[in-house]
């Protein structure tokens, strides 16, 4: 069941990616990219990771808003009049489908008051709690997880932060690099 749904989602993602590449309308391309993100979110829900699914959904919505605001400022068509019946129905139906997937994911979670480590003795959290001091020598379990067990994850996080800071720095720079030292700077323009 889960594998077949993930396969359907993968085909849907491939089709949406092809549409996003081939279409000439920028708005449709951005919306296709958003559809890919929603499908990835549904896949995360199916494999039992609701936290990552919600993060993915929030990032996707933010990305769509930023992309629409930033790239297609010029050919954005405003819609006048009432909402179309067909569009509203499709939106509500898709929201209901997403709600069903979320419901299924939350039913698979362990019951309140009975964490997973009491049900499965060989799961990862048991190992963190019992063996992290012997294996890493760090009394702080959180640090031993983020720098030892999941160090590559932290490395990716740092890379994202580094790239984000340098991107913001490059965008916010007032003087351009191409000007020579003797030419006019902002100081001289006034």
């Amino acid at each position: 069941m889960v594998e077949s749904t993930i396969a359907v989602m993968t085909i849907f993602m491939i089709i949406a990616a092809i549409i996003a590449l081939e279409t000439t309308d920028l708005l449709s391309a951005v919306i296709s990219v958003g559809a890919i993100g929603v499908a990835v979110s549904i896949c995360f829900l199916l494999v039992g990771a609701p936290d990552i699914a919600s993060t993915q959904l929030v990032v996707e919505v933010l990305t769509i808003i930023i992309l629409i605001r930033a790239t297609i400022r010029h050919d954005l068509i405003t819609i006048d009049g009432d909402r179309e019946f067909f569009g509203l129905t499709v939106t509500l139906a898709l929201l209901f489908v997403f709600f069903l997937f979320g419901l299924k994911a939350f039913w698979n979670l362990p019951e309140f008051g009975k964490p997973a480590m009491t049900q499965f003795p060989d799961c990862a959290s048991n190992r963190y709690l019992t063996k992290s001091f012997q294996e890493t020598g760090s009394r702080n379990i959180l640090v031993s997880i983020i720098f030892d067990y999941r160090g590559v994850d932290t490395f990716g996080e740092l890379c994202i932060l580094f790239a984000g800071i340098w991107g913001a720095f490059a965008i916010m720079r007032v003087q351009s690099r191409k000007k020579k030292a003797g030419e006019k700077t902002n100081e001289d323009k006034q």
């Binding site: 890493t136 030892d148 932290t154 902002n186």
Partner: protein, 170 residues
């Protein structure tokens, strides 16, 4: 550090209080970073505290003091070299016969007590991450603090006030 009679920055009370508090906050950041593997802290929180010291300095004394103390170029170098050092420490374990991101120092010098020098590579990672985060946040803050929108001849323009002062020009 400039004198208290300097025109830039906030009032005398704020400057004196900031002078007293700044060192203690910096010391707290060092504590959070170096004792991250024993007490509840890590390099991330230590780095944010480091950046907060320089943000406090900017707010209290004006931007020129900070640009002279920890310049933008120093922040660049610290940020880039810390990110590279993190990767270097992660790769060093391959030289010692382990896997990528393996804690090789903990295997060479096993320690099961609460010593300061324990836990292998984790204190090094803490230190490097603190430098990276602190320098990065400081860079973002200083580039936001330096830019101004000034009206010049009826037009609003975005200028950088890094090398001169707008208040004297008006």
């Amino acid at each position: 550090m400039k004198t208290n009679n300097d025109k830039h920055g906030m009032s005398l009370i704020v400057k004196n209080t900031a002078k007293m508090v700044m060192g203690l906050i910096f010391l707290f950041g060092i504590y959070l970073t170096l004792y991250g593997h024993i007490t509840p802290a890590s390099g991330f929180s230590g780095g944010v505290v480091f950046a907060c010291v320089f943000i406090l300095m900017t707010l209290a004394f004006g931007k020129n003091v900070v640009l002279n103390t920890l310049g933008k170029t120093t922040a660049y170098i610290l940020n880039c070299s810390a990110a590279l050092l993190f990767l270097l420490i992660a790769n060093l374990s391959i030289l010692f016969g382990g896997k990528f991101f393996e804690n090789f120092l903990a295997k060479l010098f096993p320690s099961t007590n609460h010593d300061f020098f324990s836990a292998g590579c984790i204190p090094l990672y803490n230190l490097v991450v603190a430098i990276n985060i602190g320098a990065g946040l400081f860079m973002v803050f200083i580039i936001l603090a330096v830019r101004r929108v000034v009206e010049i001849g009826g037009k609003r323009r975005l200028i950088s006030t890094e090398f001169f002062d707008t208040t004297e020009r008006k």
